[in-house]
């Protein structure tokens, strides 16, 4: 309590007068973390020797890609000052929770990332091939696309209270069948449909065992991943290794980028965002679609009701298990598309381990994003950014790329451990509903 002895007992103290301990903790944390980051940036500024760092605005340079330079030390000092200012503002309480705080955090994050990159790319051994800073957007987006689609599938399932650890299984089957159907029909779009069908197929298995047979859903997810791994591996081994058979069954055409006229000419971001494959555009639409569906429609309200309090939902006449079936199956569509990314959407032929555990990362992104489509998208982009960084920085050898690669995982642990605030799943998540 602030000291206001003259205040009338009857007047309600305003929010500014009451010191909410949680708010105080949030401010302290904000100030300390950002202060430390600013100190780190200042250290970077003092530690480097090169005056300029080169960067290009695309990911894969061609002969005539313009190379730009950025003054390293001044930029680092500006970044450090910016992060420090935001930290001070946060500690002083000028950044209440809400969009302003989000925006400030975003700015601080970009400033730190830029400073870190300048440090990582400076002082490269002379004479050797010089790695240039590249535009992180295309790589980030490419890695994040399947994660976002998978997280959307998880979101639809878990908002209806069916835990989906089987996103990885949906990815594996989606990737395999997208490749197979795409090869057989020599068409990418039919391949995508094959992926979707496989994703929905796994979703149907998940729904049968979770809703009808009430199998523990985390266990079920793990088993489905094993089943998908085994089944695709078995089927892959059945494809004869002759060229004819491989071409017929596992050599799909690959989606090519389509530039959207106008939008793709926007400087800096246009080419990264709007000269992409149709799968990426589908991802944009899916995020908006799922957000709208869950939060603006009657169907979404029912799904969420079923996920939070199925008994209450049942009492007002909502068919609990039917809603869950619909939501899980719809989720399968997105997860199947996400799986198709790994074959038709990127490298073509299916192979064992092509999905690389991305389904589990999508699950982590869902939880980090607090079971919200937009939050999950932001979390997926974070994962994509870090991995892209790991790939890029493996050229400079300034920091071991393995250690850098751990960052997203450790960040997830920090998030679920509640150091950045509690994450609360849908109340009935994982509980089968038996009409009683």
């Amino acid at each position: 309590m602030t000291a206001t002895p003259a205040a009338d007992q009857a007047t309600v103290p305003t929010r500014a007068q009451v010191r909410d301990p949680a708010e105080v903790r949030r401010r302290t944390r904000l100030g300390v973390v950002l202060g430390l980051l600013a100190v780190l940036l200042a250290y970077f500024a003092l530690a480097i020797h090169t005056a300029h760092v080169h960067y290009i605005l695309v990911q894969v340079p061609s002969a005539n890609t313009p190379v730009h330079t950025i003054a390293s030390k001044p930029t680092l000092w500006v970044c450090a000052a910016l992060v420090l200012c935001i930290g001070v503002a946060g500690a002083a309480g000028w950044l209440p929770k809400g969009w302003r705080s989000m925006l400030a955090m975003g700015v601080a994050g970009v400033a730190f990332a830029l400073g870190f990159l300048i440090w990582a790319y400076s002082d490269q051994p002379s004479g050797a091939f010089e790695a240039k800073m590249v535009n992180p957007l295309p790589g980030t987006l490419a890695i994040a696309t399947p994660l976002i689609l998978g997280a959307l599938a998880g979101c639809l399932c878990e908002r209806a209270a069916v835990i989906n650890v089987a996103i990885e299984a949906q990815f594996i089957m989606g990737a395999f069948f997208a490749s197979m159907v795409g090869s057989m029909t020599a068409s990418t779009s039919v391949g995508l449909l094959g992926g979707v069908a496989a994703g929905v197929g796994v979703a149907a298995l998940l729904a049968v065992f979770a809703i009808k047979y009430q199998v523990n859903q985390v266990v079920l997810g793990v088993v489905l991943v094993l089943l998908a791994t085994g089944l695709t591996g078995f089927l892959l081994d059945q494809i004869p290794s002759t060229e004819h058979a491989t071409n017929l069954l596992n050599n799909p055409p690959i989606l090519s980028p389509i530039a959207i006229p106008g939008l793709s000419d926007i400087p800096l971001v246009g080419q990264s965002l709007f000269d992409q494959t149709v799968l990426v555009y589908l991802m944009y639409v899916s995020v908006a679609f799922v957000s709208f569906l869950l939060f603006e429609t009657r169907w979404g309200l029912r799904v969420r009701a079923v996920g939070e309090h199925p008994t209450a939902a049942d009492t007002v006449g909502i068919k609990v298990n039917r809603m869950r079936w619909q939501s899980v199956l719809l989720g399968g569509v997105f997860a199947g598309l996400g799986g198709a990314y790994f074959t038709v959407g990127s490298t073509g032929a299916f192979d064992r381990g092509v999905t690389g555990g991305n389904g589990f990362i999508a699950l982590a992104a869902l939880i980090m994003g607090r079971w919200h489509p937009v939050g999950a998208t932001v979390a997926s982009l974070f994962f994509g950014f870090m991995w892209n960084l790991q790939n890029q920085l493996s050229f400079t050898q300034k920091i071991p790329s393995d250690l850098l690669g751990m960052t997203p995982y450790i960040a997830t642990i920090i998030a679920v451990a509640g150091f950045v605030g509690r994450v609360r799943p849908p109340a009935a998540d994982g509980e089968p509903y038996v009409k009683g």
Binding site: I163, V165, F209, Y213, Q214, V215, N216, Q217, V218, V219, L220, V222, V223, L224, L226, L227, T229, G230, L231, T232, G233, F234, L235, L236, D237, Q238, G357, F360, L363, A364, I367, P400, D402, L403, G405, M406, Y409, I410, T412, I413, V416, A417, G418, F419, P425, A427, D429, G430, E431
Partner: protein
């Protein structure tokens, strides 16, 4: 804590009695039925993917016997190879046992965590860190005689326990869900090992790729009849887990917390203590699995170390219904599938992935007893197959 005189005593039981037949017989029946069902589906997969069967289908209506004969031959030769490859000879049996030992150890870790109400997906990471610790002591230090082996084993156990302990501690202190934390710790462990392998002490001389040297002979498990001593440790560990769960205060409170955390807290047990200890010991057991691979099977540390043992351990524990004895039996079955699968691929040409399908199906059916009973028209008996893991909200 273990010698607390006021600890709630369990009813005295004969240690070796077979227990209440009424209680375990249905479970055994469902398990066997699940295995049969999985084998039937596996057989169908073999049949539809065998070219000779498919070609004889074209004249099925006029002369169906060819299709049946070819199908029978394909299934028969595959499953026969699976059987002989796992128990057909002494070599096969030692193969099965040495494949089973790490599965049993890591599976016991998952089992113990299950009993405390935790779903430990992190056996893989715990195993990797345990192996890295044990390997480091094994090839980087020089100790006289058997002390080197003991030091390497202890280091491995410590590594696993540390890695498991992180998840347990975070669960106890902050409520961070162990499924997510352990999945993330798995990836972290893989990258950590990959980084360690790029450092000097883990480097093998004159080898460019990231592979560690072999452990010192002093630090390796001694071999008897083609079996290494670590296999015995797996069975000792299983007895240890049974003893811990059924004969100690700590085990009792773990089970109580696993059954109902709120009730256990009300009864004065420390829930956070149970969570932390369960994960520490679970990690220790998974670490033992890593120790067996490095010191027993002479696997070199590499970026692909561990294979899928840590994940298979989950299926082993689920099939074993989270009991120590069940885990041992399931571990032996999966070890046999693994050893026999290689033989099946070699002699019958059936993809080794079939064993993955079989194990997934077996566990799936075991987890859905209602389905199995409907198919086999068995009598429904109340609650069973309950493995103590809950949703995110537990």
């Amino acid at each position: 804590m273990a010698d607390d005189a006021n600890a709630p005593a369990e009813p005295a039981r004969d240690r070796w009695s077979i227990g209440d037949v009424e209680q375990w017989l249905p479970t055994v029946k469902v398990t066997i039925a699940s295995i049969v069902l999985a084998l039937v589906i596996g057989a169908l997969l073999i049949i539809v993917s065998t070219p000779s069967v498919i070609s004889s289908m074209s004249y099925f209506t006029s002369y169906p016997w060819d299709a049946f004969r070819n199908a029978g031959h394909a299934v028969g030769s595959s499953y026969w190879a699976l059987l002989t490859g796992s128990v057909g000879s002494w070599t096969a049996i030692t193969n099965t046992l040495s494949q089973a030992a790490p599965l049993i150890c890591a599976g016991l870790g998952v089992t113990l965590a299950f009993r405390a109400g935790l779903f430990n997906i992190g056996a893989q990471g715990q195993l990797i860190i345990g192996a890295a610790f044990a390997g480091f002591v094994g090839f980087h230090t020089q100790l006289p005689g058997v002390s080197h082996l003991v030091a390497a084993i202890l280091a491995g156990l410590l590594g696993g326990a540390l890695w498991g302990g992180i998840a347990g501690f975070l669960k106890a202190r902050t409520g961070a869900h162990e499924v997510i934390v352990t999945i993330m710790l798995n990836y972290t462990a893989m990258l950590l090992l990959s980084w360690l392998l790029s450092l000097k002490p883990f480097e093998q001389k004159n080898v460019a790729n990231r592979i560690s040297p072999l452990v010192d002979n002093n630090a390796a498990f001694p071999h008897v009849f083609g079996l290494h001593f670590g296999v015995l440790l797996a069975f000792v560990a299983a007895y240890g887990v049974w003893w811990l769960l059924n004969r100690t205060t700590l085990g009792f409170s773990m089970r109580a917390v696993g059954a109902n955390a709120d009730a256990a807290r009300t009864a004065g047990m420390s829930v956070s203590m149970s969570y932390t200890m369960a994960m520490v010991i679970a990690g220790l057991l998974a670490g033992l699995a890593g120790v067996e691979q490095v010191l027993g099977d002479h696997v070199q540390l590499s970026t692909a170390f561990g294979g899928t043992v840590g994940f298979d351990a989950i299926t082993v524990s689920l099939l074993g219904r989270a009991t120590p004895l069940g885990t041992v039996l399931a571990g032996l079955l999966f070890g046999a599938l693994s050893a026999g699968g290689t033989q099946m691929q070699a002699t019958a040409g059936t993809s080794v992935s079939l064993t993955q399908i079989l194990s997934a199906l077996i566990v799936l059916f075991v987890a859905a007893p209602v389905l199995v009973k409907t198919i086999f028209r068995m009598k429904a008996v109340g609650d069973e197959g309950a493995v103590l893991a809950k949703g995110w909200n537990s």
